[in-house]
């Protein structure tokens, strides 16, 4: 465990000390939520304001991006060479792969929690009041799954650039289909039904039901599903990870 702790600490520090990634994790969602919230304020009511909507929806979009951070942390050029030295050292291969997942998870959780707190204080975004823990649980489960997905796909494709291109295209589709940029339930029953194919829709619906209706029915299946997918993703990542890809 001592060696794992050393690798994890360094992986986390690499994320925290990269100004680009810090901006992308904190500044970007913060700015996007504030700008869209302001621009769309006329289209939403007073019970659920545009800030309330985008404060949840775009946080979910941010959670998808945990995959980008983790893919970068395993194969980004700046980090690839020192990672090669870790491969040479007497460390279990699983440690190398799993520490990137865990570091990205912790980094994103810290960043998005800060964004949520800042938004709650500044524009009063509703994250469920006393039920905030349920929204946090969804964020944690989502962060972990997408962090593990980024590493797994990167280990499979062996290229961080291609991984990011594929995943960001897929996530943009999920986001639109799941109604993260604008609600799509009003576009008809068929589209509304199709939207459930997107994980974004599940996360968004679960959050809004908890926050506004006190309805927790989607919470357990969603977190259970994400936990199962995370376990599968971590196992597949361990299967695909090959130290020699760094050499």
């Amino acid at each position: 465990m001592y060696k794992f702790k050393q690798i994890f600490r360094l992986d986390l520090m690499n994320l925290l000390t990269n100004p680009m990634w810090v901006f992308y994790a904190i500044g970007f969602p913060l700015a996007l939520i504030l700008v869209l919230g302001f621009l769309m304020s006329g289209s939403y009511g007073h019970t659920v304001t545009s800030y309330d909507y985008y404060g949840v929806a775009l946080m979910i979009f941010g959670i998808f991006n945990a995959a980008t951070f983790s893919a970068n942390s395993i194969m980004e050029e700046r980090i690839k060479s020192p990672n090669m030295r870790i491969v040479y050292s007497p460390v279990r291969p699983f440690y190398i792969h799993f520490s990137k997942v865990l570091a990205s998870f912790v980094f994103c959780t810290a960043a998005y929690s800060l964004v949520a707190v800042l938004l709650h204080i500044t524009v009063g975004i509703n994250y469920g009041g006393a039920d905030w823990w349920a929204a946090l649980a969804i964020m944690l489960a989502g962060n972990f799954f997408f962090a593990s997905l980024g590493v797994t796909v990167c280990c499979l494709l062996k290229n961080e650039g291609i991984t990011n291109n594929i995943l960001s295209t897929l996530f943009a589709l999920f986001a639109i289909l799941g109604g993260l940029f604008f609600p799509i339930d009003g576009l008809g029953k068929a589209i509304s039904a199709i939207s459930w194919l997107s994980p974004a829709k599940w996360m968004l619906a679960a959050c809004f039901r908890i926050i506004y209706d006190g309805d927790f029915t989607l919470l357990a299946p969603l977190i259970g599903g994400l936990a199962l997918l995370s376990a599968l993703s971590v196992l597949l990542g361990a299967r695909f990870f090959r130290g020699e890809d760094y050499i």
Partner: protein, 252 residues
């Protein structure tokens, strides 16, 4: 001298192309074994296989009589690797780099600090310990690349072209350091393109070409083998021997 590494019938292919064709050699305790060869000879592939990081397709590698895979992590903990590419965290200080990589070999507490002090002092970087690597010159980075490999005082130090692209002062410092490490009991496996380095530090030389070992011996015995064909022992250089064995045509 005790044999610490024994390689037999080693084969390696990338896709369908075999790049190492069943080579065999030994590494003996306390020697500086230099691998020489033109580009594409298979030196780095061979070295990477010996580190345990690259799998091979045929043959065997044993460490003190046991397959390296019988206890791979235990085997790796006895090695120090200086990769051809700089493997450093540019945004961290020199000290932090050495401490981190040494910790992966299980060093903790005072032993870790002592190992770090030794490595930085040995490579002449003590006064730069707190400086970030991205402020270093090429030569300093090369020395730090070595420091990260020796802090845990390995039994076998594997150096893959450690002096590429550096100034003569840094090169001299590194070569003196290699000889010093041998005196302290380390065994060293060293690959390079530079003949003068091999002549200066090697106790034994293996010349590889196109995935085969084409000559093996000491500096003197290799020259002696060539002098009968070309000139007298005084005028034959290692470069003459090398070109005689590998040819003069350009390699890709």
């Amino acid at each position: 001298m005790q044999t610490i590494i024994e390689v037999n019938g080693l084969k390696k292919s990338y896709k369908d192309k075999e790049v190492i064709h069943g080579i065999g050699f030994t590494v003996n305790e306390g020697e500086i074994l230099c691998f020489l060869g033109p580009n594409g000879a298979g030196k780095s592939t061979t070295i990477n296989i010996i580190t345990g990081a690259l799998r091979f397709d045929g043959g065997s590698i044993s460490y003190k009589g046991e397959s390296i895979y019988s206890d791979l992590l235990g085997y790796k903990s006895r090695l120090g690797i200086v990769p051809q590419d700089l493997a450093l965290y540019e945004d961290l200080t020199a000290e932090r780099n050495v401490l981190f990589f040494a910790s992966l070999y299980g060093l903790k507490g005072e032993a870790l600090k002592e190992g770090c002090r030794f490595a930085l002092e040995f490579t002449g970087l003590s006064d730069k310990a707190k400086d970030k690597v991205n402020t270093f010159s090429g030569g300093m980075k090369r020395r730090l690349n070595i420091a990260c490999a020796i802090a845990h005082k390995p039994e076998l130090l594997i150096m893959d072209e450690p002096t590429v692209g550096i100034d003569p002062q840094s090169r001299k410092h590194i070569l003196e350091g290699v000889k010093q490490l041998r005196k302290q009991g380390m065994t060293i496996l060293y690959t390079t393109h530079y003949m003068e380095e091999v002549e200066e530090i090697s106790t034994r030389i293996i010349i590889m070409d196109l995935g085969n070992i084409i000559a093996e011996g000491t500096n003197e015995s290799l020259k002696a083998g060539a002098e009968s064909n070309d000139a007298s022992a005084e005028t034959v250089s290692l470069e003459t021997v090398f070109l005689q064995l590998t040819g003069k045509s350009l390699r890709n």
